[in-house]
């Protein structure tokens, strides 16, 4: 067992535990906080995989912006927990059975079929240099310039859409 592997296994345990905590907490606020912890764990995985830029984006955008928005909405609606009422009693066992099948299938396909093989690159000092970041930035603004611009338009459209959706319509009696 190398230190890398031990670190991976501990983090994987935390990631799965927090994901399950998100799934099974009765209170939405706890779910959101579990999910924040999960996102931070995934960010540490990105660091281990030699992607510091993505790790920082993950923390600022996901753990920062997105989850704060979620917490805002949960507290705004006061929808921390729903009353317990089971409509379809067979839904939960069926869903768990299907999910286990999906996990086995996707793992089998991804591990055995077409994919790059080998070990992931060990996080060494070379990954975290400015040179690496500069190369990423150059690639983003040359080869991927069009997708980058399209993304900015997408964000603008999303912003306008969100404002329009929550705007009060004039002359409508509620």
């Amino acid at each position: 067992m190398t230190p890398d592997l031990i670190l991976f296994l501990v983090l994987a345990l935390v990631a799965i535990a927090t994901a399950l905590g998100m799934l099974f907490s009765r209170n939405s606020v706890y779910s959101a906080l579990f999910l924040v912890l999960n996102f931070v764990t995934v960010a540490v995985f990105y660091l281990l995989l030699g992607a510091p830029f993505i790790a920082m984006s993950q923390i600022t955008v996901y753990a920062g912006a997105i989850m704060v928005l979620f917490l805002f909405v949960i507290m705004l609606l006061g929808a921390e927990s729903l009353p317990k009422s089971e409509v379809l009693p067979w839904q939960k066992p069926l869903a768990i059975g299907l999910a286990v099948i999906l996990a086995v299938e996707s793992t089998y396909l991804l591990v055995t079929k077409a994919r790059p093989t080998g070990d992931v690159l060990a996080p060494d000092a070379a990954v975290n240099t400015m040179e690496n970041l500069r190369e990423l930035g150059m690639k983003l603004f040359s080869d991927y310039l069009l997708p980058f611009e399209v993304t900015s338009i997408l964000l603008l459209v999303a912003m306008v859409g969100a404002i329009l959706l929550t705007k009060k319509e004039k002359g409508v009696q509620k």
């Binding site: 994901a19 998100m22 281990l48 955008v61 729903l82 912003m159």
Partner: protein, 100 residues
């Protein structure tokens, strides 16, 4: 050194937990969070592959996925707030009529 298979298996497990969340929870916000979890697990697999082939393309792709997720959350939460205003509930079982 960690074999890439371990990352793929972890990604598959996280994705499955996300799918399970969509299937068994009735709170629209939790369902939405499960979708975010699924996006995240897919990102993890992409970054792992990108690290194995020693290329930046995967990382740039994940960057775009994060941007799209942010846009999706903004619109999705606005929709959930609107649904709550008209139905006074975010239980997806209550959303059974086409008329608002």
């Amino acid at each position: 050194m960690v074999p890439v298979d371990y990352y793929i298996i972890l990604s598959a497990i996280l994705f499955t937990i996300g799918v399970l969340g969509v299937l068994i929870r009735r709170n629209a916000l939790i369902i939405f969070m499960s979708i975010e979890l699924m996006l995240n697990s897919a990102n993890l697999a992409i970054v792992a592959f990108s690290s194995v082939i020693k290329s930046f393309s995967g990382q740039i792709f994940v960057f775009f996925v994060i941007a799209v997720a942010a846009a999706e959350v903004a619109v999705g939460l606005a929709l959930i707030v609107e649904i709550f205003k008209s139905k006074h509930s975010i239980d997806v079982d209550q959303m059974s009529s086409l008329k608002g």
